[in-house]
Amino acid sequence: MKKAFFVILSFIVTGRLAAQDNLLNALNDSMSASKTKTYVKGTFKATHIINAQSIEQPANGNLNFVIQHRFGQLNSGSYNFFGLDNATLRLGLEYGITDDLDVGVGRSSYLKTFDGYLKYKILKQTEREEMPVSVSILGSVTNYTQDIVGKDYLNAKYRTAYSAELLIARKFSSAFSLQVTPTFLHYNLVPTVADKNDVFAVSGGGRLKITKRMSINAEYNWLPSNQVVSTVRHDSWSLGWDIETGGHVFQLVFSNSQSMLPSQYITQTPGTWGKGDIFFGFNISRNFNLKKKR
């Protein structure tokens, strides 16, 4: 009988304990029942995976100042201090007109090139998988202004190239993201008739976070054959290491491309990793908040 008494007593006690937790449980139940749509953020840390643009863009009223720097080729010998004597630079400004629309301008020392672009978010990946990927469209124009001896016929039109990219990205987990970017390039002038004015390429890139504020990035730009035939070129391959602190993102990069613009690195990368045609460099971006929300 005593046994039964304790069994029943314990029933009452546990019943009471359950009641205490009930309040929080009731809250959590009603919370999981309510569906609020939230968008995935931070697919990549910076607006560039390495050379290629990522799905990230500055938010409304944010100005991003980007310095992209590449030293010379690693295999250029000790006389050139293994490339560190030379430098190629791109300075860029990116501004978020709205949270979805971003405009950018830049100037590269490589062929003294000016560039401008517009980037627009079409789809945004959501937390609850209603939308599995983020998709942005990117249109850019480049114009190189370097004087080339004996080629006085190169007018502004001939020096201009366009690109249209569809950025498709997915953040698989807080540590791992991938992006695939079908790219169309149009050159107003190509070296020979055998070369195509309209070129199709696919870029792929990904990042793997190694700590909360660091990630390893890789990027590959694949150009199907028979489009650029008159010049020696190789696919552009890059590796990077992102370090983020507050409003800065610092990216250390290794790439076989010297240029940082798609119309140049996709079709005009003459070197390969295997032969040591590697350019070491870095990207630094600094975010400025120009407009206060509310």
Binding site: I12, G15, N28, S30, D99, K212, R213, E244, N287, K292
Partner: protein, 185 residues
């Protein structure tokens, strides 16, 4: 028979108890407010969440809060991203909860402002810490409006702040809470 009697009483109580619990009056809201604020010479940080779930049980003086940390809206977009990615790790620990009791009497049938003390456990970033704060409960036009303000240290919740930005973030965050629950019978 004398030995059976207490058992019967207990059994009867056990039967009655759940019904007793379910008949408890519960006041709740899904649009409660929690904000936290940091002021330093270098930077002001403001983050507000207007989708806080809260329940108050006046009969037992128990209360519970629950919110999604991703629901905190910052004035600066990038700050919000860093808050979620690097500080509270909201993918791993999406919720913050509070469960506790209040002391002091609140008469729901009479309009007025009642001073109470709220005591309980705050869970954030998978760390639970006891919190105690003075609060006010106001009964007004069929609503119970609860307000509280307290301080919380990020480090207490295992949130590490890199030394390079430490001066931009207050050692103690000011946390403000406000809930408005309609009084139901």
């Amino acid at each position: 028979m004398k030995r059976i009697l207490p058992a019967i009483v207990c059994f009867a109580l056990a039967l009655v108890r759940p019904a007793d619990v379910f008949s408890q009056q519960r006041l709740s809201t899904r649009t409660g407010f929690v904000g936290f604020y940091s002021k330093t010479a270098l930077e002001d940080i403001k983050a507000e969440n207007n989708q806080v779930f809260a329940i108050v049980e006046p009969g037992t003086k128990k209360m519970a809060f629950s919110l999604l940390v991703k629901g905190f809206i910052f004035a600066k977009e990038l700050m919000q991203e860093h808050f979620n990615e690097n500080y509270v790790e909201s993918d791993k620990y999406p919720k913050s909860t509070f469960s506790g009791i209040y002391t002091g009497d609140v008469d729901l049938t009479k309009d007025g402002v009642y001073k109470v003390t709220v005591k309980g456990d705050l869970t954030l970033h998978n760390v639970t810490k006891p919190v105690e704060a003075p609060a006010t409960m106001e009964v007004k036009g069929g609503h119970l409006i609860g307000m509280a303000e307290f301080k919380a240290k990020p480090e207490d919740y295992n949130i590490t702040i890199p030394s390079i930005v430490r001066d931009k973030i207050d050692k103690q965050m000011t946390v403000k809470v406000r809930i408005d629950c309609p009084i139901t019978k």
